[in-house]
Symmetry: C2
Subunit: 593 residues, 2 copies
């Protein structure tokens, strides 16, 4: 039977040994994140994920969500009860601000809990994930009144939040939005239009749903500069905080999808629904980006999380499935055949994912820590760097971890052979569920364009040059250290290639934007591979320092060396491809495809 | 709405310009394959695939197969009628031997029709695909009586065939088979046991099903050397060819799967069923390999075929979907946005697949042509080479084309954005359907082991050295030709790397078999990339020769140059990875994964 066990030991290694949260105790909230508290949170969160959420994962896939004739939506059996426990246990409050009733712990820690929930049940975890994004957007862009009205209930998870961007004619290009907002005398707006692919647009988990909706105020400028953001609750909220009448919005249908069946993907109809402007007129995208950045880190995490659970089950299968003999002679002569984990090519499937997941985990948590530093550090220089890194790394976390996460899930399925293709076994669900993560919150191609078109160029390339300098420093510090050699050498090589690619982009991408577009995905992967190389070098440093009787640290070094020798060499192909420029891509006429 | 149009022009290019079937008119059956006849067959086959099979593809996915209480199995609506047309039109007879009523045309041509059917409806095409494999096995290993009894009806497709290998405890390792065969006085055997994952094990398409079943005769040696092959018909066949009583076998259940829902994947129970030995006692694997080789080419073709249909729909979407503006300024200023095909990164998704599919198509047809030459050439030297190539290329066709085929289907889904994740659109079905092709008929990992462990070493490496020499000859012929330069240079580089890897394997794989295992998948991909590089070089040669007013040939050259500059550079990473040897893979203890 499939299982999920939270990788607590690995998370502890990251928090205690690599990121060393304890060293930030001068920052708000960090002083409460003592190693003991961190361990306790990880243990409890892992237990909840394994025991409550994971058993509902297959149920959710098999049952899906159902829309009744009255347009209400029923989530799969067990989801409402699990959600109730989730709220009662206070999980959503972990890193929320104390002003809204939160515990104010570092977001980096909250990310670990999100990872567990996403591994255990991605479709379930999306409900609170989107609530959290909507909450952050309201905190960033909402008025004090709006924050007070919706904030505390969204912080606890008693109310949910959604993001309403997409319409049939516009996904990536939000300038094409048609949903209308008509100003009313009381300062509110009447919202009319249809939104599609709204995750959790309707459900039976929460008393209220706070929709954030992009719409165009009558007479607004064309395109993206005429888009405003509105808060549109399912039920009106009275002065005293109690729920009033039902708003004029409803779920018009559920999308049938490849995966994440447990999450209700809704067509949402707004029929003159009452909404209130969030932030300034025509500046809706600014606030929406707050929400999207938060969400993008979360989506990258989904790629990682599904890879982790797929890996665990593949490793179990590889140890248990008896089939054929080791190439070097029987390893279990007393059994009818050897466990397939004796085969190098089976181990390749496992080691590819193990080295990806552990490197990707640090990359995500490290990026999230920069988010904490951005908000909480008193040091202006540190804040600047943290903001730069958050901006630079977010598209890489989103796209690289989901592209690789899909590969990892497919590899886990592959390791299972025919069994993996059956619904019963369960691993094929991970492949179907994770697939959406390459698409939503901006397709991976859009992430790559964001990276090369916006993030690299910002402030004259300050962010990426800081990153190069940090890697150079690290390399300088460890040169000559024999045990660090494979890490330092691999990182130096990859970093040189990334720098080469960056220079190429700066020289060729500005003169012909198509060169930047043609290079974007290869550049993003070159970046991701290098960043994980840096993460592995940092982990090796920590493991060498801590190494003692605990074989955990030796395993880390083995896994890290695998990454450096068997994954990192992929950088060269990306460099060669991107340097071809746009011509090979643009040469064919559109009608000749 | 999704569509499938058979790529007839590309197939004509391969048959007329590259393989030049007309030059083999001295061989049996080839003289009937004049360009006119070939064109006519392609046209008619394409029409059948697009108009009859493709519309049933979604129906099959949505309905799946149903098993009734009496253990009969109902295929999706429309399948029986389409199958009837398929038989009546004589498609299965195309390349079957005239002795069995076939037309005796080259198998290479038959492969093109199989590709069309697999593109249009993979689940449907599997029924005749397996029949064809079973037929070939009977032709290769059966007695004259068995051939006469089953051959003609299987050749027409009136009766189906299946292969029964897998049991719950054995997939790859057929030595673990437990199904028993007990000899009877009349020379028949009573077969008892359970087989799983039997494609088309039961269905409502044909009057009879001829099961080929691997089983162990009582008292047989342990392991693979005690496995015999039996023919076990669903209905007994009387002396006069009419059907007699029902055999003691039945479908015990249908597997719920990730994809190919229209194909019935059966648990087959043999309860003392009557069967007859095919070939010699304990030598069943030899004949089964005939069947598997045939089947493996067909599976590689499925990877290609699903990539083709996914590509066609992605190209349509890219031309039609209006979203954002070209990076270099509006391309369709009169429209609200530009079609997304203006974007280099969207074109990357298309060009990757276009260059893969066209190269892979020639690779498959060229390999199939060697199969024809093996059987029909009067020239002993040619026969030897053809046999060598068939053996060497088959695992590469199977694994490389399905690995890449999955990537292509995923890329097509990705290009569709959120739409691609919906069931309604249809592209996600291609991803789910093609997924099995990486697994069945020997997982891709097993193909890689077959390549490095068996095929490379056979006859002192004769096959691979012949292949190297053929590429060297080609390179020598075209050196100095300016227009061939990108092809000659790319091929030279890739071929040198493949040769380097081959030498490394010969030096390191024999002393430690785990080195061969650890290198196997990277070696196979390096091989596949190089082989497609060679195919592209051959296509460039033909296109340059034929180039005139038809833009088809210019497009070929553009697509070929794309392959050489943006795909082929991946070889270097495979070489670097495989040269690390087994240590990085074997270092971790099994319980530390």
């Amino acid at each position: 039977m499939p299982r999920y066990d939270a990788p607590i030991r690995d998370m502890q290694f990251i928090f205690h040994d690599v990121l060393a949260l304890q060293n930030y105790s001068n920052l708000e909230g960090f002083s409460d994140a003592t190693p003991d508290i961190v361990d306790q949170i990880l243990e409890t969160g892992g237990k909840f994920a394994s025991e409550v959420l994971f058993p509902l994962n297959k149920v959710g896939d098999a049952q899906g969500c159902k829309r009744a004739e009255d347009a209400s939506v029923k989530t799969p059996d067990g989801f409402p009860d699990a959600y109730k426990q989730f709220v009662e246990n206070g999980w959503p409050l972990l890193s929320k601000t104390p002003e809204m009733g939160g515990q104010g712990l570092p977001n980096a820690l909250s990310i670990a809990i999100s990872e567990m929930m996403s591994s255990a049940n991605m479709a379930f975890a999306m409900y609170p994930g989107l609530t959290s994004g909507a909450y952050e957007a309201l905190m960033a862009g909402g008025s004090d009144e709006q924050k007070q009205k919706y904030g505390p209930k969204m912080a606890t998870g008693e109310w949910a939040g959604t993001m309403n961007l997409t319409e049939p004619q516009c996904g990536t290009d939000l300038g094409l939005i048609k949903t209308k907002a008509v100003p009313q005398e009381d300062g509110s707006y009447k919202i009319t239009g249809q939104k599609i692919w709204i995750s959790g647009g309707e459900q039976d988990l929460t008393d209220n749903i706070v929709h954030l909706v992009l719409a165009r105020i009558e007479g607004a400028p064309e395109g993206i500069k005429g888009i405003s953001l509105f808060v549109v609750p399912k039920y009106m909220v009275k002065e005293d905080g109690s729920l009033g009448e039902r708003n004029a919005l409803s779920c018009g249908g559920l999308e049938e999808k490849m995966g994440i069946h447990g999450n209700a993907t809704c067509v949402m109809n707004y029929d003159g629904a009452t909404g209130w402007l969030v932030g300034d007129e025509h500046k809706g995208m600014r606030t929406m980006f707050v929400m999207m950045n938060e969400a993008r880190l979360g989506v990258g995490l989904q790629g990682l999380a599904q890879a982790e659970v797929a890996y665990q089950n593949a490793a179990d299968f590889a140890r248990e499935r008896l089939q054929s003999r080791a190439l070097t002679g029987p390893a279990a002569p007393d059994k009818p055949a050897d466990p397939i984990i004796v085969h190098p090519d089976v181990r390749r499937l496992l080691m590819d994912t193990k080295s990806f997941v552990e490197g990707g985990r640090l990359f995500t948590y490290w990026t999230a820590l920069h988010g904490d530093l951005l908000h909480k550090s008193p040091d202006e220089k540190m804040k600047e760097k943290a903001g730069d890194y958050m901006a630079l790394m977010t598209p890489v976390v989103k796209a690289f971890l989901t592209d690789r996460g899909l590969k990892a899930c497919n590899d886990a399925l592959q390791l299972h052979g025919g069994t993996g293709f059956t619904r019963e076994q369960g691993v094929e669900q991970f492949v179907r569920d994770v697939r959406i993560a390459l698409i939503y919150e901006g397709t991976n191609g859009i992430q790559a364009l964001d990276l090369v078109g916006r993030k690299l160029a910002a402030n004259g390339g300050r962010a990426v040059f800081t990153f190069f300098a940090e890697m150079d420093d690290f390399i300088g510090q460890h040169e000559g250290n024999e045990e660090m050699k494979p890490f330092v050498e691999g990182l130096s090589q990859a970093k040189a290639e990334l720098q080469d690619a960056t220079t190429w982009l700066m020289q060729n991408g500005m003169s012909n934007f198509n060169n930047a577009g043609a290079a974007s995905t290869d550049y993003l992967h070159l970046f991701g591979l290098t960043a994980l190389g840096f993460m592995w070098a940092k982990m090796a440093e920590a493991a060498l320092e801590k190494r003692g009787d605990d074989p955990f640290y030796d395993d880390k070094l083995v896994t890290g060396r695998y990454y450096m020798s068997r994954i990192l060499p992929e950088t060269a192909a990306h460099l060669a491809k991107l340097k071809t420029g746009a011509e090979p891509l643009m040469a064919l006429e559109a009608d000749r495809f």
